[in-house]
């Protein structure tokens, strides 16, 4: 707890959130400065006041009601005693992190005809300097004054009427705001953008579907690249050593119908390593080639350094846990961590490849995992104390059935339908602890039903997660034994964070329509 002292003196201490602070976020564990807490994506806190032995006395410290309905997917930021978060319909707010009392509230005036995919959700903000950054459901990127919530700049990234939207928490790197588009269900052409944090001027765009003449365009049949999807709707990570941003991409469009887009469909369902200054791609790794099951690879890629190796690990929606060499993107291992029936062979690189009979048919047939995947957007965590990677997982199989559908701008473009499989077992949900070295599941905790909660690990030897029944749960990171829980009264679709104010550690998570903070009595 020595490390806390600096910030806690302050009460109202603040200053600019510089890039140096973001790079060195480990030096100020009282703060939670990026979506995943640090640039590496670990969602691990070195705070150790709340421990395996005292967590059973944890109590709710405050609750903030957002007034929003639907799914609350936000992962808050905390800077020097102030918590910043978002809610549905592009609300953003700043709270006194000690009490949950609001400091400012921003509410976007959205057009009536936005095209969100899966709820009018938002997963959080980025912070840099004296501004916070929000991607909006009408596909704007905006900067808000961190002290007042006033709009500093507002730029249009894409036309929302053709299905573009932002739900992702942006990532602030150097003097840039990096953000990826949503809209794979509308046949958008995906992209990752970087904006000048000071002015909002766009510095670069990486099109995740290459155009004619660009490498990779040959992996798309005919003009299918124009509506190829490959959105980029979850937050990536950043390696200051190599100056690379790692950003994952989503499904090719239409999501469950491969006919008409023959080929690998690069760079859908891939992890991209981009030069931060230029947006140029250094390498890519495609998890699912020519995806026909909606298995977006939009999971947080976590940087892990182990035994002198610089790795990046991703628990993918397709049911495999991948470990790659961070410098080259070369596959080191791919191990199933849930129920998988779509693949029974590997290519020369060792990558699982699809069986022909896994393709959806007109009549429909069962494939595992189902369309929601073994995991999804829910944030994982890596705990450097246990060397384990914790991820929310589900065992669910679906019947995949094609439903040909013409592309029409701004209208849903699935080309498919999926249904719960009757022949399958009831859906099951887990928290799984994976050893990245061998890919083995070291322990699993079975939830009553599948959950959409992210996971946090802390130096107190704990992992925190939420469930669909509304519980916030603390487990022993070593064994998976549940040690404490609190019923929040609403399902969890968000990821927990940890922070400290006035020398006291808190953990916070959104559930139902509210944000909760917990601490020791």
């Amino acid at each position: 707890m020595v490390c806390l002292a600096g910030a806690l003196l302050a009460g109202q201490a603040h200053g600019q959130v510089t890039f140096e602070r973001l790079v060195n976020s480990g030096k100020e564990p009282q703060n939670w400065l990026t979506y995943s807490g640090d640039y590496s994506g670990k969602r691990f806190s070195t705070l150790d006041q709340i421990t395996v032995t005292n967590v059973n006395s944890l109590v709710a410290k405050w609750v903030y009601q957002t007034g929003a309905t639907g799914k609350l997917e936000t992962s808050p930021l905390v800077v020097d005693g102030i918590l910043y978060a978002t809610a549905q319909d592009d609300r953003a707010f700043a709270l006194d992190a000690r009490t949950g009392r609001p400091i400012w509230l921003y509410q976007r005036q959205l057009p009536g005809d936005i095209r969100p995919c899966c709820g009018r959700v938002n997963r959080g903000l980025a912070i840099l300097g004296d501004k916070v950054f929000l991607g909006t459901l009408d596909a704007h990127v905006i900067a808000l004054d961190a002290k007042t919530g006033n709009v500093v700049w507002d730029v249009v990234a894409a036309d929302y009427r053709t299905g573009n939207s932002f739900t992702v928490a942006p990532l602030a790197v150097k003097d840039l705001v990096v953000i990826g588009i949503s809209g794979g269900e509308y046949g958008v052409r995906g992209f990752i953008d970087a904006y000048d944090a000071a002015t909002g001027a766009r510095k670069w765009r990486f099109n995740t579907v290459p155009g004619p003449g660009e490498p990779g365009n040959e992996t798309w049949e005919g003009d299918s690249w124009k509506t190829g999807g490959a959105p980029a709707w979850n937050t990536g990570t950043y390696d200051p050593v190599t100056n690379q941003v790692f950003w994952p991409t989503g499904n090719p469009s239409p999501s469950n119908r491969g006919e008409g887009r023959a080929g690998d469909n690069l760079y859908s369902n891939s992890l991209l390593a981009l030069n931060t200054d230029t947006g140029k791609m250094n390498w890519y790794f495609q998890f699912t080639k020519h995806d026909e099951h909606d298995w977006d690879a939009t999971q947080v890629p976590v940087m892990i350094d182990s035994g002198g190796k610089h790795l990046i690990a991703q628990a993918d929606r397709n049911g495999y846990f991948y470990v790659l060499d961070r410098a080259t993107g070369k596959l080191i291992s791919a191990t199933a961590y849930g129920k998988v029936t779509w693949s029974d062979s590997r290519d020369a690189e060792g990558r699982p490849i699809a069986k022909k009979e896994a393709s959806p048919t007109l009549e429909g047939h069962t494939v595992c995992p189902g369309a929601l995947g073994t995991t999804n957007f829910m944030a994982p965590t890596f705990d450097p104390q246990t060397d384990l990677f914790y991820v929310t997982a589900r065992d669910q199989c679906d019947i995949f059935s094609t439903a040909p559908q013409p592309y029409e701008a701004g209208h849903a473009y699935y080309g498919s339908a999926y249904f719960p499989s009757e022949e399958a077992e009831p859906y099951r949900g887990f928290l799984k602890a994976i050893d990245p070295a061998g890919g083995q599941v070291k322990w699993k905790f079975e939830h009553t039903s599948p959950t959409w909660s992210g996971v946090l690990s802390t130096a107190g030897g704990l992992v925190f997660t939420g469930d669909a029944e509304g519980n916030f749960i603390a487990l022993d990171a070593a064994s998976g034994k549940p040690l404490w829980h609190f019923q929040m009264g609403g399902a969890v679709y968000a990821a927990p964070i940890a922070f400290a104010v006035d020398g006291k550690e808190y953990v916070a998570i959104a559930a139902g329509s509210a944000l909760y903070a917990f601490g020791l009595p």
Binding site: D89, C118, G119, S255, Q405, G470, I473, A491
Partner: protein
């Protein structure tokens, strides 16, 4: 694409409802389906149906776990094409049927796509009732008498509480689905409590526990999470249990409902009971 499923809980619901209502007024000024009888429209409608409707109403519109069989000529909420257009556009308040565009997945179907779906439904509709109703009066006698249904099931407030209330089941399930759930009650358990924003409702699973003092309790799970469970036993006693204090906890997808084979309940008697339930739901 889809990051999760959500049915009809968007905060834009009211706005969209208003928009859809406005749009549907325009369309139903013409009470006729402009695509009626067009086989190409029916084919397009079949695919639209798969994407938008089949999750609840089943492939082929024969009804699923949640939505009624739409191949029936008699529909509870929409007789004419225009009424069906209204139902699809606005949803049915108080039921799981959402208004078009409010399932959290984009802006919903165009008017043309809705007419295509109606054209498709008309094309698969069974014009005459497949089987006329049998002896509903006898069915009611059996329900409350020898067949013992009412020990666990209610109709219109009369009957037991252990199993699902069957007042509306005749309208929301196919005849075959009702027969199947009597003959094979464990094959597909019924949905119970649905909680706001929770993805899956509780099902009527069977729970057997042994309490710390050695008492065995067997009943239906009313609700459950990782730490607690609420159980009703065959005497309709409700138990609120803390899982970690139990000596044992077992959950099974074998229904508490006994399997009614043909030697226990004849096909004819079962048809009479189903007729009673269908006639009751049509009231």
């Amino acid at each position: 694409m889809v990051d999760s499923s959500e049915v009809g809980r968007s905060s834009a619901r009211l706005l969209l409802l208003a928009m859809m209502a406005a749009a549907s007024v325009l369309c139903t000024a013409d009470d006729r389906n402009p695509l009626a009888g067009d086989p190409r429209a029916a084919k397009a409608g079949e695919y639209e149906f798969r994407i938008n409707c089949a999750l609840c109403h089943g492939l082929g519109a024969h009804g699923g776990g949640r939505g009624p069989d739409l191949t029936r000529a008699q529909k509870k909420h929409a007789r004419s094409d225009a009424a069906m257009f209204q139902t699809i556009s606005n949803g049915i308040p108080g039921t799981a049927m959402p208004a078009n565009g409010t399932n959290g997945q984009g802006v919903g179907m165009t008017d043309e796509e809705i007419w295509q779906i109606i054209t498709y439904i008309r094309s698969v509709e069974v014009k005459a009732p497949a089987k006329p109703l049998r002896n509903a009066v006898h069915g009611k006698q059996l329900f409350y008498g020898d067949a013992n249904c009412s020990l666990c099931h209610m109709v219109e407030g009369k009957g037991g509480r252990l199993g699902p209330d069957l007042t509306a089941v005749g309208g929301s399930r196919t005849r075959d689905a009702i027969v199947d759930s009597v003959r094979n009650p464990s094959r597909r358990l019924a949905w119970g409590l649905t909680e706001a924003t929770k993805e899956f409702p509780q099902e009527y699973e069977t729970v057997t526990v042994v309490t710390a003092d050695g008492r065995q309790i067997k009943g239906v799970a009313l609700n459950e999470d990782s730490f607690s469970v609420q159980v009703m036993d065959a005497n309709e006693q409700v138990y609120l249990l803390d899982k970690q204090k139990l000596r044992s906890f077992q959950k099974s997808r074998d229904s508490m409902m006994p399997k009614y084979d043909a030697d226990v309940l004849s096909d004819k008697d079962l048809e009479d009971i189903v007729s009673y339930l269908i006639s009751e739901s049509a009231k």
